[in-house]
């Protein structure tokens, strides 16, 4: 292999004229984190709602939940990204479509929406699994105490279900964080996108992607540490 290593490249100014290559990667990282967190808010809230719908007695509610999950988890994320970014503004009424296209940070908002709706389908399945794993008597006990359906979920089912699904939910958060890299295809200047630009400008492909890899791993380790803390915090005394 005929490759000249140059680890000093990170301190050299990037051709964009604003800072070094390291700054470029770090700005990518901050977009990655911003996208991941924002889309997670949508994924968690919407996913919980859809997951709950799939466990309600009402057939109509369950059908809506199932339709959502099957739609969003059966279309590749990349295709969804293109649909949101290229197709949606065209099929929306003219003024709305062009408003979206002219948004200052259109790739960011699109990526947040796309990832949020996609990941929600996966969160929904976990929430459903968590609720269904609880003993049937828990719902009955809540109901028998006089709780409404909403109160039974709020005070009995969800607090227990979330505790059970915390580990897979952490994985889902990590997936969502890594999935932000797909947004480079619609022009979001996130970490993978910035590593690619760095490689194209400097031809130091190994350094660029080594740095990106390390940054992804570091961020994920922080997430895992946080999840472990939360798990300990919400652990119920007397339970395994």
């Amino acid at each position: 292999m005929n490759y000249t290593w140059n680890w000093g490249i990170f301190l050299e100014p990037s051709p964009e004229g604003t800072g070094t290559y390291a700054d470029m990667l770090l700005s990518g990282l901050s977009w990655t984190i911003a996208t991941a967190l924002s889309s997670w808010v949508i994924a968690f809230c919407l996913g919980s709602l859809i997951g709950v719908l799939r466990t309600l007695p009402s057939k109509a509610a369950r059908a809506v939940g199932t339709a959502y999950v099957e739609l969003f988890r059966n279309v590749p994320l990349l295709v969804q990204m293109f649909l949101w970014y290229f197709v949606l503004p065209e099929v929306l009424p003219g003024s709305l479509g062009s408003w979206i296209k002219q948004l200052p940070n259109a790739p960011f908002y699109t990526a947040v929406a796309c990832l949020g709706f996609f990941t929600a389908s996966r969160v929904a399945e976990q929430v459903r699994a968590g609720i269904e794993s609880l003993p049937r008597g828990q719902r009955m006990a809540g109901t028998a105490m006089g709780f409404t359906v909403a109160q039974t979920y709020r005070y009995v089912l969800l607090p227990n279900a979330y505790r059970i699904i915390l580990p897979p939910l952490t994985s889902e958060f990590l997936n969502n964080l890594k999935n932000t890299s797909v947004a480079l295809t619609i022009g979001l200047l996130e970490l993978t996108g910035r590593a690619r630009s760095m490689q194209e400008f400097s031809f130091q492909v190994f350094e660029a992607f080594t740095a990106a890899t390390i940054l992804y791993v570091l961020v994920n380790l922080v997430v895992i540490a946080a999840a472990t803390l939360i798990e300990r915090r919400v652990a119920v005394p007397g339970q395994r």
Binding site: P135, G146, F147, P159
Partner: protein, 287 residues
């Protein structure tokens, strides 16, 4: 009238005379399946179960069940497994829907679309076979959450009521623990206190001791006996015939979704009329 230690309300002692329309005085011949509910004047019953039937698909779980529980009465429901006794008791607070008939609890019709079921259920205490305490909440929170969220009681009042009841069932020391840290018997006593905290007009027990280790059955039954003696209206699905003999006013025997026998305690144990009840009793009293 005495101020009762567990329910905290004044209650008349079990009106055995009114409740127990003694079959021997009713003029019916032995062997007749009487329906005591029909014999009482409507309006006096705390629970009136009127000809309810329930199907799971084609399978009939309950068939034309009719009975009633008067205020202050203790009724034990027994029968072989699969006889529909748990289903019947769950129909009383509408945990299980039924397709035909009507149940009236303290004047409120369950199979009436206008009935506010959560409100009705908050007045009917229920104790489950597997306790079903909320595992993520401390014992105190288990005792207070429904008081606060359903009845809207202020925190202090709910706490006081919850802790008073916890003391009555002898578990004050465990207020800060979580359900997983208590034994089965202790959990079931907390579950009874939790139901009582809502000041129910009637208590339903669905096999409250059958998931317990034998040495813990006694402590739970003691609480139930106490409750019965204070005049609480109770409907109890159980195989504990000792309990039935001690405090029941009536015993209902079910088989294959039907109420086969509905008689005063002494009649039921003394001379069960139906062959099925005789067989059942001979099996379970042998041991």
């Amino acid at each position: 009238m005495t101020d009762s230690p567990i329910t905290g309300s004044t209650a008349t002692p079990a009106p055995a005379a009114a409740a127990q329309a003694a079959p021997s005085d009713s003029g019916l011949q032995p062997g007749t399946l009487i329906e005591p509910a029909r014999q009482r004047a409507p309006g006096t019953a705390m629970i009136a179960i009127d000809a309810i039937s329930k199907w799971y698909g084609d399978f009939r779980v309950l068939h034309e069940c009719t009975t009633a529980v008067a205020k202050g009465e203790v009724v034990v429901v027994c029968g072989p497994s699969g006889s529909g006794k748990s289903t019947l008791i769950k129909c009383v607070n509408a945990l299980e829907p039924f397709q035909k008939g009507q149940i009236t609890v303290d004047g409120t019709k369950i199979a009436d679309k206008a009935t506010n079921l959560p409100k009705l259920r908050s007045r009917v205490g229920m104790v489950f076979q597997h306790f079903e305490l909320f595992p993520h909440l401390s014992i105190t929170d288990n005792l207070t959450i429904a008081q606060r969220k359903v009845l809207g009681r202020p925190k202090e009042e709910a706490h006081k009521r919850g802790l008073d009841l916890l003391a009555r069932v002898g578990l004050s020391a465990h207020a800060k623990k979580f359900p997983g840290q208590l034994s089965g018997g202790q959990q079931q006593r907390v579950a009874i206190a939790r139901a009582l905290a809502m000041n129910p007009v009637v208590m339903l027990f669905d096999e409250p001791t059958s998931a317990l280790d034998p040495e813990m059955v006694g402590e739970v039954l003691d609480v139930m006996v106490e409750l019965a003696r204070e005049g609480m209206t109770m409907m109890v699905v159980t195989h504990e015939m000792g309990f039935a003999r001690k405090v029941a006013d009536r015993v209902i025997f079910m088989d294959q979704g039907e109420i086969v026998e509905d008689a005063g305690k002494d009649d039921f144990f003394g001379k069960p009329r139906s062959e099925r009840a005789q067989t059942f009793l001979s099996k379970i009293l042998q041991h």
